[in-house]
Symmetry: C2
Subunit: 227 residues, 2 copies
DNA sequence: CGTCGTATTAAGTATAGACATATTTTTGGA
DNA sequence: TCCAAAAATATGTCTATACTTAATACGACG
């Protein structure tokens, strides 16, 4: 009795080895099930999994074919900064820099889809790894969601507070490179104009704008993953 | 009759709304199936899908609980550069800069797991969008895999050639920021030291080292995705 | 010669029942 | 009291069968 995972692995091996070349239509589920010695449901589960990951294109009546030009997908895990530091076996420290209500720039209003230029809570903080600057957190928060009274970021970072209070959210994410400005130079202790890796993230919870944050990492930071 | 996708959506709604709070153990499959009005197999398919994406933690006998601190996952699509340019409704152009056998630096040998410092094929090229520099491709190739005779990169970029010839591969991927050096300044026509977004990718096919490439994008480039 | 409806096909899915497997809990001894 | 063996339990999976749905092929008809 073969598990669908086994069947999946065998099928993937055929794709990788070229036994099923890109663009080629492969036999129908029912026939493959017989060949692999399993039920059609099992075959279906395996092929569906491969299709989900972009290895196969499947169409009703049209049959299944190996993707000719698969869109490579890279999956990055975006952990909480403290965990990220601790995973590197470093000691995490955190320093709140500013926390006040301010009128945000146009770009932030647009990202959060706030029509009027209402005042938002701006929180900036520095994360350290083994005492050295690791990452600057520059955040705009919807004050209705996280009022200064309820959410105090002196000890627990906004980054972590949010993960606990708005666990499952949607939003956008962007990676880019930016030069160090005066504020970043001061916090990260890097050269002016240094190339820094940055992440912009905007978060909504059931349509309500929650926060827009820019995380800027110290020089040399790399975001890595396997394919 | 509910599809597992429908059931999945309903369950996800409960998680997002907080009806099933983070850390909480939810009822067993059999009971949920009854509540949702479907068979256990259907419930299982739905919950398994949610567990795959990190929303749930499931253990035999232990039951299913909502992930307390989910690791956020971001999925990026890594397209062929030409497609990437064309998706932005720009015209893609390509210019081969160099193509010769050279001894690679230590770092490249290490990434490709080449013991001896054998000569590799180095290919550098420039990709343009609407005539403007878009991305510099700096690649080291295993000459045994892509000999100069068979693989000519004057017209078709190595990027594209490889997608066609080694479709399903494994490897590593890293995103980072780097300053523009002299070579990049010349090709991308940017300021010296400008902050540039870069991708390192090393590719293996069934254990054989294929290629290691650095893609450096023109200033202002952002790698975006939805969560 | 086109085009509209129908038959056919292959994937998508649902279900009940059975068994497998990993843990936890309980129980029975030393 | 403590530990090992056994029972209980929730998820993991397979199977056979039946039905649904989307897309294609094809033939009748204007």
């Amino acid at each position: 009795m073969k598990s669908w995972q086994t069947v999946r692995a065998e099928a993937l091996a055929r794709i990788r080895s070229g036994a099923w070349p890109p663009g080629e239509t492969i036999p129908r589920e029912a026939d493959l099930a017989e060949e692999f010695g399993c039920a059609r449901a099992t075959m279906n589960r395996a092929m569906q999994s491969l299709a989900d990951e972009g290895y196969l294109d499947r169409r009703r009546k049209g049959g299944t074919r190996v993707a000719a030009m698969p869109v490579r997908k890279a999956v990055f895990e975006i952990p909480v900064i403290r965990q990220q530091v601790e995973q590197r076996r470093s000691t995490h420290a955190y320093r709140l820099v500013t926390d006040r209500l301010t009128t945000p720039p146009e770009a932030v209003c647009a990202a959060l889809k706030f029509g009027s230029r209402m005042q938002l809570r701006r929180v900036t903080a520095l994360h350290l790894a083994d005492g050295k600057p690791f990452c600057v957190e520059d955040r705009w928060l919807n004050p209705a969601f996280a009022p200064p009274g309820e959410a105090d970021f002196a000890e627990v970072s906004a980054n972590e507070w949010l993960v606990r209070h708005v666990t499952y959210s949607t939003g956008t994410l962007a990676f880019y490179a930016r030069p160090a400005n005066a504020a970043l130079v001061r916090l990260l202790k890097c050269a002016h104009g240094a190339s820094l890796f940055a992440i912009d993230r905007t978060t909504f919870d059931a349509g309500t704008p929650i926060t827009s944050v820019t995380l800027t990492y110290a020089p040399g930071y790399r975001m890595e993953t396997l394919m």
